[in-house]
């Protein structure tokens, strides 16, 4: 099974970092194949950035996205800009506080990532909350693997990140249940 | 009764590939004098020949490396200094000397020259300046005086030349000198000094080039330019380098060991970096 995810945000929001953790967790701790590619707006600072993550049980041939299973956007315009890449019935995870758009053709999960991050005392972990939500939607890699990948990349923030990723995961699981979708596909 | 003594061996034979002689240089050319001075300096340096490396670029002077019985490299046009930088970084214990012409070192290779001087790479550079591209038959270059005639400046050169010692000193070299092929003893001493300098050591050697440059610029015979050196050379180790450009119009031809200063060399700074970084690898 091949999963395609795009995580996009504005400079400094940590979208790329979240993508790397996702790929790293799948490749190193879940024994999966994974590819992460990055994209940037032409502005040196302040523009959008994105990480495209492909996760698969088998060798990944074509390494770029074709149709997204999950789009996660951390800014409002990112919703519109990337909507055409999301497959019909695909999931769009948003930062609830920043993204106002909606779509009838997709399952939209507004995750209050900033609220959660602030409740943990560090607004900068909003990306990790979103990461937890993505993992809940995908069902792969395992939450444990993501926690391990976080801990080895950011050993000093392991505790904070674990809380953030778990909260994102449980919020998304509840949202999925409320719209009648089982998280682990 | 007069006895003819036939020398079987030249005193510098052990440093020369004598089987390659005679050399390709024209009668009256000054490059042989510079090569002999380099050989004398090697002998005087006390550093054994196998620890000397001679590197040249392309051109008449570029042929020096091939005549020296050392580890020698005849590289690409203009790139000798960059080549020497890589070699010397890996083997900082060796005495690396670049010998090449003015076109090679400061025109096509000018960027490498200024950056090596800026970095203070611990190598020696002997640049023989004969004011033109000799091997290709006499074209103007970055050292050709304003107004001088060559095959590519037939109406007189309309470019201003570099004042090379000024340039190299400004870029940061530890040692900068200029001598002519008339000043053999001073030249040998300067080259010997270069070999003990830590950092970029540079010498410009003004040399006659009778058949190509001299022919069109009033120095047609081998001795004409030597005579010019004799008449106009002024030794001034403390010269104001901004004022020592060469016009060949009878102005003072200022020579001397202008700069001799201690600055950290590139090799020293890199070794220091390695000391600070080594063992820091977390085994990624």
């Amino acid at each position: 099974m091949r999963y395609e995810v795009r995580i996009t945000g504005l400079g400094g929001q940590g979208a790329i970092t979240a993508g790397h953790i996702l790929g790293r967790a799948a490749a190193i701790y879940d024994g999966k194949e994974a590819v992460v590619t990055e994209g940037y707006s032409p502005y040196i600072t302040g523009g959008w950035s994105r990480a495209d993550v492909i996760i698969s049980d088998e060798t990944i041939d074509y390494p770029l996205i074709t149709k997204l299973d999950v789009l996660a956007t951390m800014y409002d315009e990112g919703f519109v800009q990337n909507l055409r890449h999301v497959k019909r019935g695909g999931v769009i995870v948003t930062v609830k506080e920043l993204v106002k758009h909606d779509s009838q053709d997709h399952k939209v999960l507004p995750v209050p990532a900033i609220e959660v991050a602030e409740s943990l005392g560090r607004k900068i972990v909003a990306n990790i909350v979103i990461l937890g939500a993505i993992v809940a939607v995908l069902g792969t890699p395992s939450l444990e693997s993501v926690e391990k990948a976080l801990a080895d990349r950011f050993p000093k923030a392991a505790d904070l990140n674990r809380k953030a990723v778990r909260q994102g995961y449980s919020i998304a699981s509840e949202l999925l249940a409320s719209i009648g979708v089982s998280g682990r596909r | 009764m007069t006895q003819v003594v036939k020398a079987q061996r030249h005193p510098r034979d052990r440093l020369l590939r004598s089987e390659r002689l005679p050399h390709i240089w024209c009668p009256g050319c000054g490059i042989g004098i510079v090569m002999a001075a380099y050989a004398d300096a090697i002998e005087a340096s006390g550093i054994p020949p196998e620890k000397h490396v001679c590197i040249s670029g392309i051109g008449c002077t570029g042929r020096v490396s091939g005549y020296m019985h050392l580890d020698s490299f005849h590289t690409t046009h203009g790139r000798a200094i960059a080549f020497a930088t890589g070699l010397s970084l890996v083997r900082p214990d060796l005495e690396v000397t670049v010998i090449s012409g003015d076109g090679d070192i400061c025109t096509i290779g000018g960027n490498h020259l200024i950056h090596a001087a800026r970095r203070n790479v611990d190598i020696n550079v002997i640049m023989v300046n004969n004011f033109n591209y000799g091997m290709t038959g006499g074209q103007h270059g970055g050292t050709t005086p304003l107004g001088a005639k060559t095959y590519t400046s037939p109406y007189g050169n309309f470019e201003n030349p570099f004042n090379i010692p000024y340039l190299v000193a400004a870029a940061g070299a530890s040692f900068v000198a200029r001598w002519t092929t008339l000043h053999v003893r001073q030249l040998i001493n300067a080259i010997k000094r270069m070999m003990s300098v830590e950092g970029f050591a540079f010498i410009e050697v003004i040399s006659p080039c009778p058949p190509t440059f001299g022919e069109f610029n009033n120095f047609p015979e081998a001795l004409d330019m030597m005579e010019y050196f004799r008449k106009h050379s002024v030794v001034d180790h403390n010269a104001d380098l901004s004022k020592i450009d060469i016009r060949l119009q009878g102005e003072p031809l200022v020579v001397g060991n202008f700069v001799d200063r201690r600055r950290p060399s590139y090799q020293e700074l890199i070794q220091e970096t390695i000391r600070r970084a080594s063992g820091r690898g977390e085994g990624i």
Binding site: H20, G23, R24, A27, I28, E33, A34, V35, V36, T37, I60, D61, Y62, P63, L64 | R17, R20, P49, E50, V53, I58, S65, G66, H69, L70, D71, S72, F73, H74, T75, T76, G78, R79, A80, A82, F83, A84, T85, G86, L87, S88, L89, V90, R91, L94, N111, H112, H115, I270, T273, I274, R276, A277, S278, G279, R280, G281, E282, G283, I284
Partner: protein, 381 residues
């Protein structure tokens, strides 16, 4: 204190980083470079990692200087490398020729971007295939490997050093922007399990009875500076003593020796992978990142009932002519997709015994599988 060597095991790494770790394991301790997108991560990581293992990584003033410095470092006994992209690769051509005639083992990594000229620095291209082979003037042979994944980038960097050392010649790793910047799984073996080739070094004592160059030899041992060899190494055509010559006869001997080092070893240099070619009627011939799209396309074609296969060329120079000849005798059509307007398709056509269809894709993005599928369908019809 850490050895600084990369930890064996499974890593998740950028291609450009994997290249540096491979170089370190291959024994490379000298890097000279000049920043250029999209290869700069190689240079940057070398600047961090090389000093940690006692190596040197320096920035030169341009790419001509970089390669000149590599050759100097190589003759000083070091394994040496640089990394660049199109515009820098153009500047390197001069001294790649020097490395060839001086028989200096060096490794040049070209992370290809879109060209020509400054092109699109941040996006993929495969336009330097012919330049890697023919870009430097005069007759020369180059060895060129094209990775299609981070793991291959790692493996081929080590192989590039081994080939360079064994044949005393410059070797090029022709990567591309996608392989360079993508993050992927890479398995780093324990250092002791990695085959490392070291050059044969000239024993100065032998020089009293033999000349430094023997043009009937396979590969001559290398005189390293400071060991007492005192050999002349020349960019001019040179005889068995290392002295410049204008003799056409010596030119013939020297060139046959230099070219022969690669031509005589071509078969052992050829690396390629075959996917589903056993019963294939249409085979896609691809290299680098394009091979990934091609594999996807071949699977799609199979699902539509077309007997398609993939030949992934890993060694692109010396060109694996026999591989193409052999394969083309049992298939109907070869399809050659490239992110350029027709480069490697030319030697494919030269050696193929069957029709060859080229699929061209402008540099700027990875060729899409559906474009290759379309060509395969046409070929099968």
């Amino acid at each position: 204190m850490s050895s600084g060597l990369p930890r064996p095991g499974v890593h998740f790494m950028m291609g450009n980083f994997a290249c540096v770790e491979a170089a370190i394991l291959a024994g490379c301790r000298f890097f000279a470079g000049y920043p250029i997108t999209p290869s700069s991560e190689i240079f940057e990581r070398a600047c961090v990692r090389f000093p940690q293992v006692g190596g040197i990584a320096v920035e030169m003033e341009d790419e001509m200087a970089s390669v000149a410095a590599l050759i100097g470092a190589s003759y000083a006994g070091a394994k040496a490398m640089t990394a660049t992209s199109g515009p820098g690769f153009s500047l390197m051509m001069e001294n790649i020729g020097l490395a060839f005639i001086m028989e200096a083992p060096i490794v040049i990594v070209n992370v290809q971007r879109a060209g020509p000229s400054t092109g699109i620095p941040t996006l993929i291209g495969q336009g330097d295939v012919m330049q890697a082979r023919w870009g430097s003037h005069g007759d020369l042979e180059t060895v060129v490997y094209a990775p299609s994944s981070v793991q291959e980038f790692f493996d081929l960097t080590i192989r590039a050093f081994n080939t360079a050392e064994r044949l005393r010649t410059p070797v090029i790793v022709l990567a591309d922007q996608l392989v360079g910047l993508m993050w992927e799984k890479v398995v780093i073996p324990p250092a002791e399990e990695i085959e490392i080739v070291e050059r044969k070094v000239m024993d100065p004592r032998l020089l009293s009875t033999r000349l430094p160059f023997d043009y009937s030899a396979d590969v001559n041992p290398m005189p390293i500076v400071g060991t007492g060899c005192r050999v002349n190494i020349d960019s001019l055509t040179h005889d068995e003593r290392g002295y410049p010559t204008t003799s056409q006869e010596v030119s013939d001997r020297m060139l046959r020796y230099l070219l022969g080092k690669i031509r005589n070893h071509a078969r052992e240099l050829w690396m390629y992978k075959e996917f589903m070619t056993d019963d294939a009627e249409v085979v896609v011939v691809a290299y680098g990142s394009t091979a990934r799209s091609a594999l996807n396309a071949v699977k799609q074609a199979r699902s539509r009932g077309i007997k398609a296969g993939l030949l992934q060329l890993i060694t692109i120079w010396p060109f694996p002519s026999d591989v193409i000849e052999r394969l083309s005798q049992r298939v109907n059509v070869l399809v050659v997709p490239e992110i350029n307007f027709g480069q490697l398709v030319h030697p494919v056509r030269e050696h193929a015994k069957c029709p060859v269809i080229e699929v061209n894709w402008a540099p700027g993005s990875l060729i899409e599988p559906n474009v290759i599928v379309d060509a395969v369908e046409v070929a099968a019809a």
